[in-house]
């Protein structure tokens, strides 16, 4: 399977999966994201966007969580390109 690095969670296509590489940014948000399970190595998928385009619904660790695009932008990922729907 092929991966594309240098992306953030905010840039995934609907249905696309990715592996978390790093969480960057300001302390509070970083701690929160890490503690919600966005640790390096974990698989995440973008489920959908809210009707107004923001926030996003993500799936990881057996649950669904909603993050704003700005927050999702702090999670650097390696996206799986073979599964992305065009």
């Amino acid at each position: 399977m092929a991966f594309q690095s240098g992306k953030t969670l905010a840039e995934l296509e609907i249905g696309q999966r990715a592996i978390v590489k790093d969480v960057v940014g300001e302390g509070r948000m970083m701690v929160r994201l890490l503690e919600m399970g966005f640790v390096p190595g974990v698989s995440v998928a973008l489920v959908k966007r809210a009707p107004l385009g923001d926030p996003l619904e993500l799936r990881l660790r057996g649950y669904h969580v909603s993050l704003r695009r700005a927050e999702a932008g702090a999670v650097l990922v390696e996206a799986r390109v073979d599964e992305a729907r065009a």
Partner: protein, 683 residues
């Protein structure tokens, strides 16, 4: 008699409260922590009750971690470690969702690090089985070296065993040794770790850290703290993943990504958060909540008002006329009425909020509306309380407890009284009916009266949003609260839990805010009734109320009211309307000596106001005065009950005082601009 205290910890949406309700007596007390608005509930264990060895359970706020990114987590940690003068609990009951261990185990590991004896209630094991990810309970117990009880709170399965486990607690656990960095912050490694993560999250003010702890933290390199906290979190999750591999026989990829418990919910969400249907259904649900507060509560409110009136009559008949009878009927009984009259709306709102929260829809509502609320600087959870403000600020302000973060809650609380509540409607309707051609068509089906009313509602809505945005950027400055919002699986709410929630909040209102409202009603009644004058001694056109303290006060503030187009008669009405805004109408009725019941039909009062003339023969109130009065009511905090509830929710008089003063100033300035603006336009 030594009492065991056991804290109940767990993630949100794992059935923790259901389990707490099943394990404890229905009577419990609410634990308060100084300077914090989050509450914990304490209840006596009732399963396997032993009078010689009572056990008290403390229900902590549901959290995903103990790092204090908001008050909930701070309270959880402070209770677990025995801060604020409360003893450290003797043990912890950890409630985990069996269908979502991949996230739940993180908090579990954090709690286990504290070293207290732990019992794990592995809740919703039925759902995990059905979702195809059954948990090997024995393997989990062996891996964690803790007793694990499979439970199903919905059916009561495992409750007996859980209680038995709590009666035969194991020894305290070994705590990890502090590393060099942690040792520099605190002797207690758990506390050191907690303070380090709080420092990184810029949330030290929530921790109650001592001066020496703060100094120790300040001396550290921020980059070092960052690395240490990260390493800690990643190590815990690595341990979670190792545990999962041995505990859930299903392939590890499923535990890592797929959400088996969410399969059905994801299907439901195809409709409920659909790009088109989602917002439509959201609007429908909100309309239902709003409609119920606005009109379904009405018959009940009518019944309460009838019963209070009847009680007053019976008392009057039994005691005969007299000053004491008046105190009892117009002061005390009316005051009780002023309190109880809020119960239908409070109960209805909390019924809806409870159902929406427990079913999982509230999270979807926040998901749908977050984009709009983020513009103000709040997150989606502030929407329901704000909307409820159109019906009544009292339940709405109580409803802000779903918002985490005190500053964000406070911004919402300060916004709510600007929303035009139903008690303002009688005031608008009196003024429009008296001073404007209410039924004159302007265009299409729209009349002058309707458009003025619409204008007042729009003014109130826009002002609330602007005020919120201003406070969020100045006084209560803070980042837009992040939306890290779990979208939990949909579940059928348990009626018993919802009913208990409704009852708690209603009882809480009656006890805390109710006493203040009752006292203020009695004081206001005294102001409006004393000193008394004999009807014979009144001059032509005078009414008894003019001679009361409130009457004199109303006359003395006339110089302030003239610039906004009002006179002392309105002044008396304004004082009376502190009991509730609509009381302006009946107080004005008393000022003008109208015998009939103006609450039921204000036509006579409208005519008197329309025809009132100054000594020079000019109309006493013009359109400019009317607009100014309505605008004043849009902004002014003419409602002691609102202030009483704000005092209850913020636990200090500071914020209600700020609210009263700021809103009165804004109202006055706005009324001034309206009056002179309207004059300039020739009204």
């Amino acid at each position: 008699m030594s009492e065991l205290r056991i804290a109940v910890a767990g993630n949100p949406n794992v059935g923790k409260t259901s389990l707490f309700n099943l394990l404890t007596h229905s009577r419990y007390k609410v634990g308060n922590y100084p300077g914090i608005t989050v509450e914990t509930r304490e209840g006596r264990l009732r399963v396997h009750e032993d009078p010689d060895k009572p056990i008290t359970l403390i229900d902590l706020p549901g959290t995903y971690s103990l790092t204090p990114t908001a008050e909930d987590e701070a309270v959880a940690f402070r209770v677990l470690t025995g801060a604020d003068g409360h003893p450290r609990p003797d043990a912890v009951l950890l409630v985990l969702d069996a269908s979502n261990l991949a996230r739940n185990l993180y908090l579990a590991l954090q709690v286990v690090e504290l070293g207290l004896p732990c019992v794990i209630a592995l809740n919703m094991v039925d759902l995990a089985d059905r979702a195809g990810v059954p948990v090997d309970v024995d393997a989990l117990a062996a891996a964690l070296e803790l007793p694990v009880v499979p439970t199903v709170a919905r059916s009561g399965e495992g409750i007996e065993t859980t209680a038995a486990m709590l009666r035969s607690l194991g020894p305290a656990l070994a705590t990890p040794l502090p590393n060099a960095l942690e040792a520099r912050v605190s002797k207690d490694p758990a506390r050191a770790r907690w303070l380090l993560s709080a420092a990184l999250a810029d949330a030290l003010e929530l921790t109650g850290a001592t001066t020496s702890e703060r100094e120790a933290l300040a001396a550290l390199d921020p980059e070092q703290i960052r690395t240490a906290v990260r390493t800690q979190i990643e190590a815990r999750y690595a341990k979670v993943d190792r545990l999962l591999a041995g505990v859930i026989p299903a392939e590890p990829e499923r535990a890592q990504l797929a959400a088996p418990a969410m399969v059905r919910s994801a299907q439901i969400d195809r409709v409920l958060t659909h790009r088109v249907f989602g917002p439509l259904i959201f609007l429908g649900v909100m309309a239902l909540v709003f409609q119920s507060l606005f009109s379904w509560a009405d018959p009940l409110i009518g019944l309460i008002e009838g019963a209070i009136g009847w009680l007053g009559d019976v008392t009057r008949n039994a005691l005969g006329e007299g000053a004491f009878t008046d105190l009892l009927t117009e002061g005390v009984i009316a005051g009780v009425g002023n309190v109880v009259v809020f119960v239908p709306q409070i109960a209805l709102l909390f019924l809806f909020v409870g159902l929406l929260e427990d079913s999982g829809y509230m999270a979807r509502a926040a998901f749908i509306v977050d984009r709009l609320m983020a513009r103000v600087g709040l997150n989606g959870k502030a929407f329901v309380p704000l909307l409820s403000g159109y019906a009544c600020a009292i339940p709405a302000i109580m409803g802000t407890r779903t918002i985490s973060g005190f500053k964000d809650r406070l911004v919402t609380i300060l916004m709510i009284p600007f929303m035009s509540c139903s008690a303002r409607l009688p005031v608008y309707s009196l003024v429009i009916g008296a001073l404007f051609a209410a039924n004159e068509r302007v265009f299409g089906p729209f009349t002058q009266g309707g458009l003025i009313l619409l204008g007042m509602y729009m003014l109130s809505t826009v002002s609330a949003l602007v005020i919120g945005a201003i406070y969020k950027r100045t006084l209560l400055r803070g980042p837009v609260p992040p939306l890290v919002l779990e979208l939990p699986p949909y579940r059928l709410p348990r009626i018993r839990d919802t009913a208990r929630h409704v009852w708690d909040r209603t009882a809480d209102f009656l006890r805390d805010a109710g006493t203040i409202i009752l006292a203020v009603t009695v004081v206001l009644w005294g102001l409006l009734s004393y000193p008394k004058v004999e009807p014979e001694s009144l001059a032509e056109g005078e009414t008894a109320i003019e001679h009361s303290l409130a009457g004199r006060l109303g006359k003395s503030i006339e110089p302030v009211l003239t610039p906004i187009g009002q006179d002392w008669r309105i002044g008396i009405g304004l004082i009376g309307s502190f009991a509730a805004r609509e009381v302006l109408v009946s107080t004005l009725g008393m000022v003008y000596g109208i015998e009939s019941d103006v609450d039921e039909d204000d036509t006579p009062l409208r005519e008197v106001i329309r025809d009132a003339k100054t000594p020079e023969g000019e109309p006493r109130y013009g359109k400019a005065s009317g607009l100014a009065l309505m605008v004043f009511f849009v902004f002014a905090c003419q409602c002691m009950s609102t202030l009483a509830v704000v005092k209850r929710e913020t636990r200090s008089w500071r914020w209600p005082a700020f609210m009263l003063i700021s809103m009165t100033v804004i109202a006055y300035v706005a009324a001034l601009l309206t009056f002179w603006g309207a004059k300039a336009f020739g009204l």
